[in-house]
């Protein structure tokens, strides 16, 4: 269902085709935005539209698609009591501008995205792995990473287990 609101109308007017889609599904609104415009739009959302609380930053991997990753920001505005999603599609070699300068909470959230998917965020002050050990190879939440797959080398070196499992 298309998402009709004056906020979306303003954005569409300003960015035209940069806003690829703005719809509502099951009562939840989301926007799909070009990856080149994402930082600007997030900034506008925070400053002008009052989305001061970044609920989550996450990603989804679609290996069959041309632009494999869906990076999703879930934002909430206290004033409007409205929660929206802003998505952008990127290829696995691309990187996304980091939103740490907009919301400090994005710090660890983006680190987790990087850890699990390998998506690089430009401008992040400390883009290291957060949940997995530092020397781990591989990005587990990608679809081509098996569920019982482990970084055998890391396990052998650090835990001293011969088989690596």
């Amino acid at each position: 269902m298309p998402w009709d609101s004056e906020m979306v109308a303003r954005f569409k007017q300003r960015y035209g085709s940069g806003i690829r889609e703005a719809s509502t599904y099951l009562g939840q609104s989301y926007m799909i935005v070009d990856s080149s415009l994402i930082h600007e739009i997030l900034q506008l959302l925070r400053d002008d539209e009052g989305f001061d609380y970044c609920v989550d930053v996450t990603a989804v991997h679609y290996p069959q698609r041309e632009q494999q990753f869906d990076v999703v920001w879930i934002l909430y505005s206290f004033a409007r009591n409205l929660r929206i999603r802003v998505k952008t599609l990127i290829h696995e070699t691309e990187s996304v501008p980091s939103s740490v300068d907009l919301w400090v909470t994005a710090d660890w959230l983006e680190r987790e995205c990087f850890d699990m998917f390998g998506i690089k965020f430009d401008g992040h002050p400390n883009l290291k792995r957060i949940l997995l050990p530092d020397g781990w190879k591989g990005y587990p939440l990608r679809k081509d990473y098996g569920i019982i797959q482990q970084d055998k080398e890391w396990v052998q070196i650090n835990l001293g287990i011969e088989s690596g499992q």
């Binding site: 599904y25 099951l26 989804v60 879930i74 710090d107």
Partner: protein
Amino acid sequence: MNPTSTSNLDLDTRQETFLDANELIINMGPQHPATHGVLRVILKLDGEKVLGTECVIGYLHRGVEKIAENRTYTMFNPYVDRMDYVAAVSNGLGYCEAVEKLLNVEAPPRARYIRVILTELNRLASHQLWLGTHALDIGAMTPLFYTFRDREEILKIFEKYCGARLTTHAFRIGGCVYETYDGFEDDVKKFLKFVPPKIDEYEELLTTNRIWLERTRNVGTISAKDCIAFGVTGPVLRASGVKWDIRKAQPYSGYENFDFEIPTGQNGDTYDRYLVRLAEMRQALRIIDQAVNSIPEGPIMAKIPKVIKPPVGEIYHSIEAPKGELGYFIVSDGSTQPYRVRVRPPSFVNLQALDLMVRGALVADVIAVIGTLDIVLGEVDR
């Protein structure tokens, strides 16, 4: 986790002898006497003052989100309890409600009321555990035993209802699977009479205790603006003055039918968080009281297909867990297994604020602040 990894604290500033060091790097290792779980905090100290911290997490990472992609929706339900194992019922509620939204069904009213009662009981149990362990960290040994004894009563109710005390798996997608047992209402009502004097007991021991006040006033202060910037939610946000609770702002599971207040604090320090959580305990009792006196009759399970195959789409649903905003972002591709389940853990996001809260405080305060943030490592690491 690699011990020789560099952190964003400059390890090269470590001096030769520890006596004339200006900056000391101390490791609060993964094992703690305080029962918070496996959290490693690297502190950069100047004598007693904390200059900076770095949290190393991931010791309890079990790959729950990856597992979700390999299980059907119903099979994934028990995994959800294990994340925030202290408040397992809330986790289950969030997940079941998210999938129900995706299926565009609603649980029947009776199921909703039962869910509310169990979730609020769980909120009470979680806060009681928090209080006991937080007081223990600060040095008061006795409240731990009192709160655990009272928490036993709640766990007994859970055990009678669904067979498990801690990781309950109480709810199913579409409603509840177990009908309330005979005497459920009586047990709950008896509990409602039993517990308020106990909460008064905890207050008597701690609230006006001069030592408690000195240890918690103006310790770990965080302003409302910083809370929002850090995405901190739950009692921490409310203690900083922002009156926001998802149960009131975007009600779910029938919370709009109940009359309760949102306690807030003013200063955003540890003492305010303590008061806010105590007040939340009393409000939870209020909600349970209203709910248990008016459970409607009817079915407990909505009509959902035997094999759950939600249509293609995404949903984000969040609830007010005892620790903060617990959110589930589920992407479905039309098959029986979810395509992506993302859990937005409140403890993970709250823990980020630790660095800001302990800047300039003393070492003994770090432990108090970790306690007051009420983190559960199962949720931080998933």
